[in-house]
């Protein structure tokens, strides 16, 4: 099992945002984490990556306890993270952003050929500053940067945010390709139901920092379920 989380509590200072979360993600699985704004989805992702400390509970990656491990060491174990807002180094060139991804997985060499197979536009923009790319290109670079390393588990935080609908579909296809061609395991936080339908094998629903339901991909397609858990009228 790539990721096992047990009774996890985390937050900011003494304020507990994520509370008693227990979840696991299987090999090659795409797990969606859904819920309304402010329920702790991003806090959960940051805790899994190591950018927020674990207050209580355990996080295991490939049977290794990483609960107290520094974020940079978790990344070198193979946990790739694409944060909300993409987290690009906007003043660095596209090429330098790819260099920054090469330590993910701990091999330390840039796998540019694979990146350009997935995202050919990045090869054309290699010397351009990341901040000058369009929103869609920036999202491709955020994915490409992770692929430049050797990730085994990818954590995606709202990859469709601020992206045109046609590019959201493309992101869905890319996530599927990452699973099928690279065998990657994916945890995706998302509010875009279309994208969740397209990619997720399973969904967990969060509310007030806790997991309140677990749904199959088919269940989330039901309008009543979506309305109940995301407060979205479909």
């Amino acid at each position: 099992m790539p990721l096992n989380v047990s009774n996890l509590y985390s937050g900011y200072g003494r304020v507990r945002i994520v509370q008693d979360v227990t979840m696991s993600v299987g090999e090659g699985e795409i797990l969606a984490v859904i819920g309304r704004n402010g329920v702790g989805k991003t806090t959960l992702m940051k805790t899994l990556v190591g950018l927020l400390g674990t207050l209580h509970g355990t996080i295991e990656f490939r049977d290794q306890d990483i609960s107290r491990m520094h974020a940079s060491r978790r990344a070198r174990l193979g946990i790739g993270y694409v944060p909300q807002g993409r987290g690009l180094f906007t003043r660095l060139s596209v090429g330098d952003n790819l260099v920054m991804g090469e330590r993910v997985g701990g091999i330390g060499a840039t796998n540019r050929r694979r990146v350009f197979q997935f995202f050919p536009i990045l090869e054309e923009r290699l010397s351009q500053k990341a901040g000058s790319l369009s929103g869609g290109e920036q999202q491709q670079l955020a994915f490409g940067r992770i692929l430049a390393g050797h990730p085994e588990l990818i954590l995606l935080d709202e990859p469709s945010e601020g992206i045109q609908p046609n590019i959201v579909q493309e992101i869905g296809r890319i996530i599927q390709r990452l699973r099928h061609e690279e065998g990657l395991t994916v945890v995706i936080v998302e509010q875009n139901l279309e994208l969740i339908h397209a990619v997720a094998d399973r969904c967990i629903v969060m509310d007030k920092g806790k997991i309140i339901a677990e749904l199959t991909a088919d269940e989330i397609k039901e309008p009543e379920v979506a309305k109940r858990y995301l407060a979205i009228a479909t």
Binding site: V49, S72, A75, P83, G87, R91, D96, Q128, K129, G149
Partner: protein, 300 residues
């Protein structure tokens, strides 16, 4: 011949001022740009470099090697300082300023207690050359040449090495750099060490032209500080170059039109005007402009 000597004199002064500001500010701007720390103890790291140069020189070490040893010594001192004190004050401009000012006082007073008010000076090498009725020191031109080599070296390190890429990324978003597997603690320590080493080398170079005392650094810190603030932290190389060219230019011009003291006022006035127009420094403006231009060309 007289006109040639006059024009050469202006150019010589301009190059001298450029060399002085680059040497004094290059280490400081790296630390400020990369770590958001205004290191008021930078002058004292230069002072440590000057003392190491003097002691090793009088122990029989050739001056160029003594200056390199000064860089190594100041670099090690910088890494120790970073690990023990500075790391708790990243991106806290005011706190870091107060803490490093305290460190600078400790260093200067400590050296005063241990080594006394001054030590034996090192003679300036290479001598002078005459043009018409004026004489010019060769070592000043050497300082200018070394300052250019130093800035080229820093540019190469930050542009072409993995450490440089990691350092620039860490400067922009340390949390994301961590999440991508970069040990930002090492990056910070090495960057601070590099900035300190450059300060030590600069101190060693200036030790051949100035009185070496515990308050050696005070001659350089204010001007280096102004250069750094005018340059801004968005891009250390373009910021430093643009700032130095503007400040040294105004200083040289006013210096020749009026006198040395008013020359310094001219430099301060230029700094004031630049900061009124570009409060975050020249490099911030240049970087934004570059991104806008690239964005526009990407849409075509």
């Amino acid at each position: 011949m007289e006109e040639f000597a006059l024009i050469f004199g202006y150019i010589y002064q301009y190059l001298d001022n450029i060399g002085f500001l680059i040497l004094a500010a290059s280490g400081l701007i790296i630390i400020f740009g990369m770590m958001g720390v205004i290191n008021m103890a930078h002058g004292e790291l230069m002072m440590i470099g000057a003392y190491i140069t003097a002691f090793t020189y009088y122990a029989g070490v050739p001056a160029p090697i003594a200056i390199l040893l000064a860089g190594v010594g100041a670099g090690i001192a910088g890494i120790i300082l970073e690990r023990l004190v500075i790391r708790f004050f990243y991106k806290q401009l005011l706190s870091s300023l107060v803490v490093t000012w305290g460190l600078s006082l400790m260093f200067s007073q400590g050296f005063l207690l241990i080594f006394g008010p001054s030590i034996l000076n090192i003679p300036t090498p290479f001598g002078n050359f005459p043009i018409d009725e004026q004489t010019f020191g060769i070592y000043r031109l050497v300082l200018f040449g070394i300052s250019m080599a130093m800035i080229a070296g820093v540019w190469a390190v930050f542009t072409f090495t993995r450490f440089g890429t990691h350092a620039r990324a860490t400067m922009e978003d340390p949390e994301m750099a961590d999440a991508l597997g970069v040990n930002t603690r090492h990056v910070y320590a090495l960057t601070f060490g590099l900035g300190s080493a450059l300060g030590g080398i600069a101190g060693g170079m200036f030790a051949l032209t100035a009185t070496i005392s515990p308050f050696f650094g005070i001659n350089y810190t204010p001007l280096a500080f102004i250069t750094v603030v005018v340059g801004g932290g968005a891009n250390v190389i373009t910021g430093l170059l643009a700032s130095v060219l503007a400040l040294a230019g105004s200083q040289t011009l006013v210096n020749n039109l009026v006198n040395v003291y008013v020359g310094y006022l001219g430099m301060m006035g230029t700094a004031l005007i630049i900061l009124l127009v570009l409060p975050r420094g020249i490099s911030e403006y240049l970087e934004r402009r570059k991104i806008r231009t690239e964005r526009a060309s990407g849409r075509e």
